[in-house]
């Protein structure tokens, strides 16, 4: 792209569009927002297409010294690339999801979403620690407004909780950042990723960052803002919250905690493991007894994020890759599930599970897509969920078999609550006449759910497209972590590879497909 500042352009497009949205009427604002997000999607695709896999670690870099104390420095590696693509992919879908359901103060709503998009891209693209912090924190304001103005009945409480929880987490991180910059003399993230802080200080710094990322992630027991925020946020707000905002926590761990404080990460690994194990089991059990669909999916998000954290702290390539895939997959799948809830919420204006039933009879297309996303959330092979969860758990097995055991239990529970949800909503008899009279997906809803379905299958069938861009970065991170990596209790020994496949016939005739076709 011959020096074209594509990342700045991706920041500028939503900014200009947001300003424009504030000044025009509702209908125009919708169109402006859609065009701007599609334009950013196009830029995102261009970014991916031009990303040189295996090239320099940091690409598309820009740097301008226009501030005192920090610089306007942008640049991405493979990890950031994929998260940016995820963000720009979900944005137009969010705008479509709000097309009809948002009727009051449309211009401001669209502006808030576009600002949100700007800040999300900024978080993933920032190469300066304080620039990162500004983008990271600034996201609170639009999200606060989105929940508070366009949310449900109990929106005020949820918006406060969201804001103050995340703010408290982040301010401690700011102090840690100031200390780091004071000690190392640089604000440049790539430099800091290879800077060795004293081990004793690392513990404190790690804890300060942990306070912020654990809330954002969210990890048990500081997850309680998430169900409230989700339930009260409008559909598109939930999609962005689950799809991208939660990934900021994971991104923070992978970008800051792990490479900057490897020793502290190894030392405090148990904190992550204990909290994640608790999260997987407890939140899955809580999800099992929910009557509100959004709440159920929100709790399932907490459980999935726990798989991400254990994978990240497994200190090996599988775990890290798996976590990234779980994050991407969860971004798509939970986003899609919230959209599915939104589709029927728009028709009946309730999220109460018992008010629905037998939707597969009158909404077959909807039931099919909902099934696909349910299965992806469960982690069925062939969907994106399987790839990520399998890799994460394979990674963590090398470190602790116990943790693997507990987390796998969570996956079984996940299958239980998701299938239970699906049964109650889509199968059974049509108890309520109004639910039975609902029409199937319209074109707008197909346009929202179809692309996500395609992406979920793509990631499930050929994950290499997503693994390739970040392979080198994960390897670099793994090398950085190797000096602190724990030995683990699995003691795996690599065996001698066999000359032929285990299921090879003696004569080599009648090739048998070993895929898990019977899983349906």
């Amino acid at each position: 792209m011959g020096g074209f500042p594509i990342l700045s352009a991706m920041l500028l497009v939503p900014l200009v569009a947001a300003m424009a949205c504030l000044l025009v009427r509702a209908g125009t604002a919708r169109s402006i927002a859609l065009v701007a997000t599609l334009l950013n999607l196009a830029l995102g695709i261009a970014l991916w297409a031009n990303y040189d896999i295996g090239g320099a670690q940091w690409q598309f870099t820009e740097r301008h010294e226009i501030f005192q104390g920090f610089s306007y420095a942008l640049g991405i590696d493979g990890i950031a690339l994929l998260l940016i693509v995820l963000s720009v992919f979900l944005m137009p879908i969010c705008i479509l999801a709000s097309w009809e359901s948002i009727q009051k103060r449309v211009g401001e709503y669209m502006a808030a979403f576009l600002i949100m998009e700007l800040l999300m891209i900024g978080v993933f693209a920032a190469q300066d620690m304080f620039l990162f912090y500004i983008f990271f924190e600034a996201g609170l304001i639009p999200m606060y407004l989105i929940i508070g103005i366009w949310g449900g009945a109990n929106r005020i409480y949820a918006s406060y909780k969201f804001f103050l929880y995340t703010l408290l987490g982040s301010v401690l991180m700011l102090i840690a950042m100031l200390w780091m910059v004071n000690a190392s003399g640089t604000t440049d993230i790539p430099t800091l990723m290879n800077y060795d802080f004293p081990v004793k200080a690392q513990t404190w710094l790690w804890l300060a960052f942990f306070a912020s990322f654990a809330v954002k992630m969210p990890m048990w027991p500081v997850h309680t803002w998430l169900p409230d925020a989700h339930v009260q946020a409008p559909t598109a707000g939930s999609v962005i919250l689950a799809g991208v905002l939660l990934k900021m926590g994971g991104y923070g761990f992978i970008r800051f905690s792990l490479p900057m404080f490897p020793e502290a990460s190894a030392q405090l690994m148990w904190v992550i493991f204990v909290l994640s194990m608790a999260a997987v089991v407890i939140t899955s059990l809580i999800a099992l007894v929910q009557h509100d669909m959004k709440k159920l999916i929100a709790y399932s998000s907490v459980a999935h994020m726990a798989i991400v954290t254990v994978g990240l702290f497994s200190f090996n390539v599988q775990g890290l890759e798996g976590s990234m895939i779980v994050m991407l997959s969860h971004g798509l799948v939970s986003g899609a599930l919230f959209l599915c809830v939104g589709v029927i919420y728009d028709r009946l204006h309730t999220r109460e599970i018992d008010r629905y039933g037998g939707l597969s009879i009158n909404m077959p297309h909807y039931a099919l897509l909902f099934m696909l996303f349910t299965m992806a959330s469960v982690g069925l092979p062939g969907t994106s969920g399987f790839v990520g969860e399998f890799l994460s758990l394979a990674g963590i097995y090398k470190v602790s078999t116990t943790v693997t055991l507990v987390c796998t239990t969570g996956i079984i529970l996940g299958a239980a609550y998701m299938l239970y949800l699906y049964r109650r909503v889509a199968f059974g008899e049509q108890k309520n006449a109004d639910a039975a009279a609902m029409s199937d997906l319209n074109l707008r809803e197909w346009l929202m759910l179809g692309p996500i379905a395609a992406a979920v299958l793509w990631m499930g069938v050929y994950p290499e497209s997503f693994l390739a861009p970040m392979r080198k970065d994960i390897a670099a991170l793994d090398a950085r972590l190797s000096r602190a990596a724990p030995s683990g209790d699995a003691h795996l020994v690599a065996g001698e590879p066999k000359a032929e496949a285990a299921n090879a016939m003696p004569e080599g005739v009648g090739e048998h497909e070993a895929t898990a076709e019977g899983a349906h």
Partner: protein, 487 residues
């Protein structure tokens, strides 16, 4: 003694004093109808003084500063920068005032006069290099302030505010004088460099008492906890333009004066006063945050907010370094824009009959009845809370950076965690304006002059402000260098 040089170095004060005297004559002969012209001339005088000060600040020939009148007065970059902020705040307040009083007949030419004389006093405060100059400057600005507080003569609350301010201010002056006399007794001089030299070897108990009393008296002027009690009452009772003035210009002057006396006169006894400042800082942050939560009057709420902000500024002072002083000045500059903006926004809220709206509940749904005003006020609130990308964050950022660099990590961590409590009530205002159903109370139209001041403040506070970080940082660093290494 070279009088010409001394008079030149005190140019801004001399110029303002002469202008003030001329304006007095104009006001005496012109009577009430001349109020408008007097205001315009006062603004012009402040601009003139600002130009003189800016020239001292920018011109490299004065980079070392200079002593006037045998060391009673010191012209340096620190004082000049503080003075620029004071003049800017005073100009902003004067511009918004006449239209505020339009409805009644209370506006008089004395008002701009008092602001000009207060500015003279404040200029002396920040440039004082001797306890006597300091006291005279302080009293001069305070006396003007007492009158200003009770300027709305027909309003009982205003009279009450003036009286309270006067009584408590006199008490604080007494405490300060007592401290000054102790310091003089133990140091044998009232000049800052001489005090610094006298305290070089160590402090006796008496001298320490002196320092404590001086700081207590100054804490009253900057409304730091535990000497903050007058602030909410005075801010609520005084007419809103006067409150705007109190929250900005005198605060800058008092803080700059405190910084100069702490770092210059008591500069080699940092450990003695640091714990006092740390206590006052943390207590101010906490009391400012907790006290604001229950308020239903927006001016009282902003009063607590100013107490809260003083706490953050004092963290910069507690660092006791050049970086800390520079951070204080940056914070002050941003604080002036934020306070000016928020008070002007409050000033603009009028009901259909043109009366002031001060109740927070009446601001409900402002975002729908008056979206621009709500947007500006929301930006001010979130900026005061220190949420990026608004510029208020930068003030907190530099202050905490200085604290961390001075190894006060724990102080910084506690301070910043307490700022989250403060965020709660700033959010409450945003919530009331944006989430609640419109109360349809604020319907009155606002004057262009109000919009102009608000717009300037809003631009400073918006993310565009970050483009100013470099020049602001350079100026503040130069100002801080003049102070910390002086004497």
């Amino acid at each position: 003694m070279d009088y010409a040089n001394s008079l030149y170095l005190t140019g801004p004060e001399v110029f303002l004093s002469v202008s003030g005297l001329i304006l007095t004559l104009l006001a005496a002969w012109g009577g009430r109808p001349s109020a408008r012209y007097t205001t315009i001339l006062a603004v012009a005088a402040l601009f003139g003084a600002g130009a003189l000060t800016a020239q001292f600040l920018i011109n490299d020939a004065y980079s070392l500063g200079g002593d006037a009148f045998g060391g009673l007065y010191r012209m340096d970059a620190f004082g000049s920068m503080a003075k620029l902020l004071i003049y800017a705040a005073a100009i902003g307040c004067l511009i918004v005032t006449p239209r505020f009083f339009d409805k009644g007949t209370e506006y008089r030419p004395e008002y701009p006069l008092l602001v000009v004389f207060a500015a003279v006093g404040m200029g002396m405060m920040v440039s004082a290099a001797d306890l006597m100059t300091l006291y005279i400057g302080l009293e001069m600005s305070s006396l003007a302030s007492y009158v200003l507080a009770s300027f709305a003569r027909s309003d009982g609350r205003s009279a009450e505010a003036g009286l309270k301010y006067f009584v408590l201010g006199a008490l604080a002056s007494g405490i300060l004088l007592y401290g000054i006399s102790l310091v003089y007794g133990f140091a044998g001089s009232t000049s800052y460099p001489a005090i610094r030299a006298a305290f070089d070897g160590g402090l006796g108990t008496g001298a320490m008492f002196g320092i404590v009393f001086v700081l207590a008296g100054l804490a009253f002027k900057i409304s730091a906890v535990p000497f903050h009690m007058w602030t909410p009452d005075v801010y609520e009772g005084a007419p809103t333009p006067v409150t705007t003035f109190f929250a900005t210009a005198p605060k800058v002057a008092a803080i700059a004066m405190t910084a100069r006396i702490s770092l210059d006169a008591f500069g080699n006894q940092v450990d003695v006063w640091r714990q006092i400042v740390i206590f006052a800082a943390l207590a101010s942050i906490l009391v400012g945050a907790l006290g604001a939560i229950g308020q239903s009057n927006v001016k009282r709420l902003l009063a607590y907010s100013s107490i809260n902000n003083v706490g953050f500024i004092l963290i910069g002072l507690a660092a006791g370094t050049a970086a800390g002083t520079s951070a204080m000045l940056v914070y002050l500059a941003i604080y002036v824009a934020m306070s000016l903006g928020s008070f002007v926004a409050v000033l603009m809220m009028r009901d259909a009959a043109g009366n002031q709206v001060e109740s927070i509940a009446d601001m409900a749904g402002l975002s729908r009845t008056n979206p621009m005003l709500a947007l500006c006020l929301a930006a001010m609130m979130l900026s005061l809370a220190g949420i990026p990308p608004l510029f208020g964050f930068w003030g907190k950022f530099v202050v905490f950076q200085a604290a961390v660099e001075a190894d006060l990590v724990v102080l910084a961590a506690i301070g910043i965690a307490a700022s989250v409590i403060g965020a709660f009530y700033y959010l409450k205002i945003v919530k009331i304006m944006y989430f609640d159903e419109p109360a349809e109370v604020v319907t009155g139209k606002s004057d262009l002059s109000h919009w102009a001041v608000l717009a300037i403040c809003a631009i400073v506070v918006s993310p565009l402000g970050y483009l100013a970080t470099k020049p602001l940082g350079v100026l503040a660093d130069r100002a801080a260098a003049a102070l910390v290494f002086a004497g």
